[in-house]
């Protein structure tokens, strides 16, 4: 087990190294002037780009440049973000909590709803319930996230006027911005900070703004989970050990809850990595459409404005999150399936 984790951590370093080379290689197609932006940390510096080009050798061979860049990254200097108008490392803490908040609410819902629906439609295969969830899943799978989000906005914001885009209502946002001493941003997530600062109205308002984004995120991600859980359940229910349990005198509920479900979770864990990737992609679309200033919004905005340092840093960060979550998934795998020995 320890050997396995150590190996995975080494692997993490390797992957991050690979990602950095990949991304650096891709973006080295830009002119030295553009690339200089990756080293700028203040607006003042931006004025003497030629100096930076010289200092970092942006006209030198690519491996020299890469070395210099990695050196900077290691020191925490990720460059200047045009979109955020501040250094990338600082802007990161501004945007990350918003995305985290969205996924903190969406992920548990995805897991609970997906596993429950999948189990039920697998157990009661070919029932009305099964057919309707299957149809819902395939339609949900076919709905582009951004389009679905737009439709929700059209109905719930435009027509019903229940939920609106953004993170907070403009009055509250203005108040928060103007009173930094009265509202401390402990976590950066308004729904939690509101409670911590004794302002439940802010929490409620933030939650209100979260309803549609979370709904979109859940519907788009849950389809995959449900499908895998369903087919896992169908497969497990036809295994011999189910008959053994039945021959022991087990009732139907014990059979599927106690015996089949845990086995059916094993294939679910193999697609957990895909679920993480789906959530990341979903966050981009959700944030763009609902105008929530999170990582996804930042990335999309940076892409359209060719804000290179952000793209590089976000790719590295996403790679890090992805590899770490895969490590956690593998450990979970070993926990659910005793046959797996991590060696």
């Amino acid at each position: 087990m320890t050997a396995y984790i150590i190996r995975r951590l080494l692997f993490l370093v390797f992957v991050l190294f690979g990602v950095s080379i990949l991304i650096f290689g891709l973006l080295s197609t830009f002119s030295p002037e553009r690339r200089a932006a990756a080293y700028v940390t203040t607006p003042q510096q931006a004025e003497n780009i030629p100096l930076i080009i010289k200092e970092y050798g942006l006209d030198k061979p690519i491996y020299v440049q890469y070395g210099k860049w990695i050196q900077q990254v290691a020191q925490g200097n990720l460059g200047w973000s045009l979109v955020a108008a501040r250094p990338v490392a600082k802007a990161f803490w501004n945007y990350f909590p918003t995305t985290l908040e969205l996924n903190l609410f969406a992920s548990p819902l995805v897991v609970i709803v997906g596993i429950w629906l999948g189990t039920m439609s697998g157990v009661y295969r070919d029932s009305f319930f099964d057919h309707s969830t299957r149809i819902a899943a395939i339609v949900g799978w076919s709905l582009p996230t951004f389009l679905f989000a737009l439709i929700l906005l059209m109905i719930f914001y435009g027509y019903l006027d229940l939920f609106s885009p953004g993170i907070l209502s403009s009055e509250l946002a203005l108040w928060v911005a103007n009173n930094p001493d009265q509202f401390v941003r402990y976590t950066g997530m308004y729904s939690i900070d509101g409670l911590l600062n004794g302002r439940p109205d802010i929490t409620l308002n933030a939650l209100n703004h979260l309803v549609l984004p979370v709904l979109t995120q859940v519907i788009v991600v849950v389809a995959l989970l449900m499908r895998v859980m369903r087919s896992g359940m169908i497969e497990e229910m036809s295994k011999d050990y189910v008959i053994t349990a039945k021959a022991k005198g087990a009732d139907f509920k014990t059979i599927y809850q106690k015996h089949a479900k845990r086995n059916a979770l094993i294939p679910v864990i193999t697609v957990a990595g895909q679920l993480v990737a789906l959530s990341m992609e979903g966050s981009i679309a959700v944030e763009v459409v609902f105008n929530r200033q999170g990582m996804g919004w930042w990335l999309a905005e940076s892409a359209t404005q060719l804000d290179m340092p952000v793209l590089m840093s976000v790719c590295m960060f996403v790679g890090l999150v992805f590899v770490i979550s895969n490590l956690i998934i593998d450990i979970m795998y070993a926990y659910v399936d005793p046959r797996i020995r991590l060696h």
Binding site: Y241, A247, D251, R262, V336, P338
Partner: protein, 386 residues
């Protein structure tokens, strides 16, 4: 001898995409109290379907279409029809009065649950009331299970009367109250350790904490047997229990079954394709072909003086210790049961087939004493009933 279990005109079909597989066609069989009965036949002849139909554990797309399965647990009592019972009553019979061992010990054990839990489950399903009474007595005798002991005592006494009560199920969802059955589970686990030890497995305390993949094939098969024997069944059904095991392990298991037979179980229904196993362990035998029973009777009688052409051919097609000359084989192959042959299902391959055989399905008739055969030819040869 009194009859323990009778299957009458049992018919089971499988509704597949390719068509309706008529796996069992008016299958008839009866097993006596205290008898070891061997059911032999080639793969796909419906041996497993038979016993699974009897216990009603057929999986979709299989459907039991008709017939009766009469079961009288005590000799001389009125039999009950297992096919008429409600699912809940059936759950009470499975694993308690009738239990089953499966072919593939790898597949028959749940890979993600501990051995101990899987054995203990049998007790939890059938002995919760008994164990609860025992624990209530213990509590009254001064044994304590922590602060909530009086509350648990009350719940356990409910469990002692009706172990499947809705009230208890509801309680099992409430955080503190759900722990009422911990002593019962512990007791079940103790009994699991007991029975595993009795089956000749060294240090059972350690084995119960393991998972199936840690054990060898022979050990797994013993665990499967332990599960089946947990509640002292009246009838033990062993479905190809030794077929996938090696010769030396098979010898161990057969000996174990033999010993158990003497001690605790009343009857065994042994299903196998290995004629040798039947010859060595069974008293009576039934020979199956394509979903029907062709011949049944005492093993010595059937094996030394077979009347059905299929049994005769089968016996000459297996290699023996004293093999003389070439092995004889049966021409052709087992029919596709979506389109079963008309009349006697063996007639297309039968060397003795007569005109009548393709038209009329032969009835099972007692042609010699205790020796039943379903064959027009044999009937004509032997000349009517005894």
């Amino acid at each position: 001898m009194a009859v323990l279990l009778t299957a009458q005109d049992l018919t089971t079909n499988f509704y597949t995409y390719e068509g309706v597989v008529r796996a069992l066609d008016k299958f008839t069989l009866s097993i006596d109290h205290g008898c070891t009965f061997g059911l032999v036949g080639e793969s796909g002849c419906g041996k497993s379907v038979t016993v699974r139909s009897m216990l009603r554990v057929i999986q979709s797309p299989g459907v039991i279409e008709g017939g009766r399965v009469l079961f009288s647990e005590q000799a001389g009592t009125d039999p009950i029809d297992l096919l008429e019972l409600s699912e809940e009553e059936m759950e009470g019979i499975r694993g308690d009065s009738i239990s089953m061992i499966f072919q593939e010990p790898n597949a028959a054990l749940n890979p993600v649950l501990t051995i101990g839990y899987q054995v203990a489950e049998s007790f939890l399903f059938h002995r919760t009331a008994q164990m609860s009474t025992r624990i209530c007595e213990k509590i009254d005798g001064g044994v304590s299970f922590g602060l909530l002991t009086p509350l648990y005592r009350a719940m356990l006494s409910i469990a002692a009367k009706s172990p499947k009560s809705r009230f208890l199920k509801a309680c099992s969802r409430i955080p503190l109250l759900r722990r009422w059955d911990t002593p019962v589970k512990d007791e079940a686990m103790r009994r699991a350790v007991d029975i595993i030890g009795k089956l000749g497995i060294a240090n059972p305390e350690e084995i119960v904490t393991r998972y199936p993949h840690n054990l060898s094939g022979g050990m797994k098969q013993r665990i499967v047997i332990a599960i089946a024997l947990a509640c002292h069944p009246t009838l033990l059904i062993a479905d190809e229990a030794t077929s996938n095991l090696d010769v030396t392990v098979q010898a161990q298991i057969l000996q174990l079954l033999n010993d158990l037979k003497k001690e605790s179980i009343s009857s065994i229904l042994l299903i196998t394709h290995d004629l040798g196993v039947v010859a060595e362990t069974c008293e009576k035998v039934g020979v199956m072909y394509a979903g029907t029973l062709c011949e049944t009777g005492k093993v010595e009688e059937v094996f030394s003086r077979p009347l059905h052409p299929y049994t005769q051919a089968l016996l000459t097609s297996v290699p023996k210790f004293h093999q003389e000359g070439e092995l004889q084989s049966i021409e052709g192959s087992v029919p596709n049961l979506v389109y079963p042959p008309s009349g006697c299902r063996f007639h297309p391959r039968c060397p003795k087939a007569m005109e009548q055989c393709s038209i009329e399905k032969p009835e099972l008739k007692e042609l010699r004493k205790g020796h039943f055969v379903a064959c027009h030819y044999a009937e004509a040869q032997v000349g009517g009933l005894v």
